[in-house]
């Protein structure tokens, strides 16, 4: 089970996160909380499914969208989401998640959540195995 530590006025909140099961055709909506100060800005919010490793995060699927944040005279928290479309490009198994704000040179990167996404195998197409008569009666 994944978990995230969030700063709050009471210190740090430990927020446990359950695994989610997805299959090709689904969308995974990832909601992020970020802190911002300064002038109003627009930046890409980017999230990816993949595998965290010693060499970094090996992305398999990702989603992004441009988000706008207002001018913040002091540090303020905002929440936004981004969707990742699950395709057949990802095979069944458990995967990690991370998110970031910014383009090629990220402004801020989230901690990775490990093994929180379980990709299920695609449901096979309709297929019939056998048939047999189980009863017969006058109607």
């Amino acid at each position: 089970m994944g978990a995230v530590y969030l700063p709050s006025q009471f210190g740090v909140i430990f927020l446990p996160l359950a695994n989610v099961q997805v299959k090709p055709g689904d969308k995974l909506r990832i909601t992020c909380r970020y802190s911002h100060i300064g002038q109003a800005d627009s930046q890409p919010l980017y999230a990816a499914i993949g595998n965290e490793g010693w060499a970094g995060f090996d992305e398999v699927l990702h989603g992004s969208k441009t988000i706008s944040m207002p001018e913040d005279a002091s540090w303020n928290y905002h929440e936004e989401y981004v969707d990742i479309t699950i395709t057949t490009a990802i095979s069944a198994g458990f995967y990690d998640l991370y998110a970031k704000i910014g383009g090629t040179f990220p402004k801020v990167i989230s901690p990775s959540l490990l093994d929180v996404v379980e990709v299920m195998a695609e449901t096979p197409e309709s297929e019939f195995g056998e048939i047999s008569i189980t009863d017969y009666a006058k109607v």
Binding site: L6, L17, C32, I101, K107, P111
Partner: protein, 128 residues
């Protein structure tokens, strides 16, 4: 030292953002014993020549003896620190406006913080 139209105060913010409208008030006292015509004026010093002016919608007024009158004005803040120069004039019996007093006040440029991000965390994820 003013002869008749004594500038008592310039009311203005200590700082303003570049490009924003800055509203000011110049308070001028009639030191004369009877009513005279008083006019306000102003200019902005921030490194350009000639100094840009300050707009006063009601430039002048007849002010009773011993009374202080407020003249409201405004200007657009430059991208540098600005020194306001406020001037007063009185209307003489010769039919001319006479320069009388000057006061200055500095308005600093508000420092704008560029956009900056502190942290980001994934707080939920769900299948749609």
């Amino acid at each position: 030292m003013a002869q008749y139209a004594d500038i008592v105060e310039i009311v203005a913010p200590g700082e303003a953002a570049g490009g924003s409208r800055v509203d000011i008030t110049v308070r001028i006292k009639n030191k004369h014993s009877s009513t005279i015509g008083i006019m306000a004026g102003g200019a902005l010093e921030y490194g350009v020549s000639p100094w840009p002016g300050i707009t006063f919608p009601d430039l002048s007024a007849n002010v009773d003896g011993g009374i202080t009158r407020s003249f409201s004005g405004y200007f657009t803040m430059s991208d540098k620190r600005v020194i306001i120069h406020a001037y007063s004039y009185y209307y003489g019996s010769d039919g001319y406006w006479h320069f009388d007093d000057e006061m200055t006040k500095t308005i600093n440029l508000t420092e704008e913080i560029e956009s900056e991000f502190g942290s980001i965390a994934i707080i939920s994820y769900q299948r749609r």
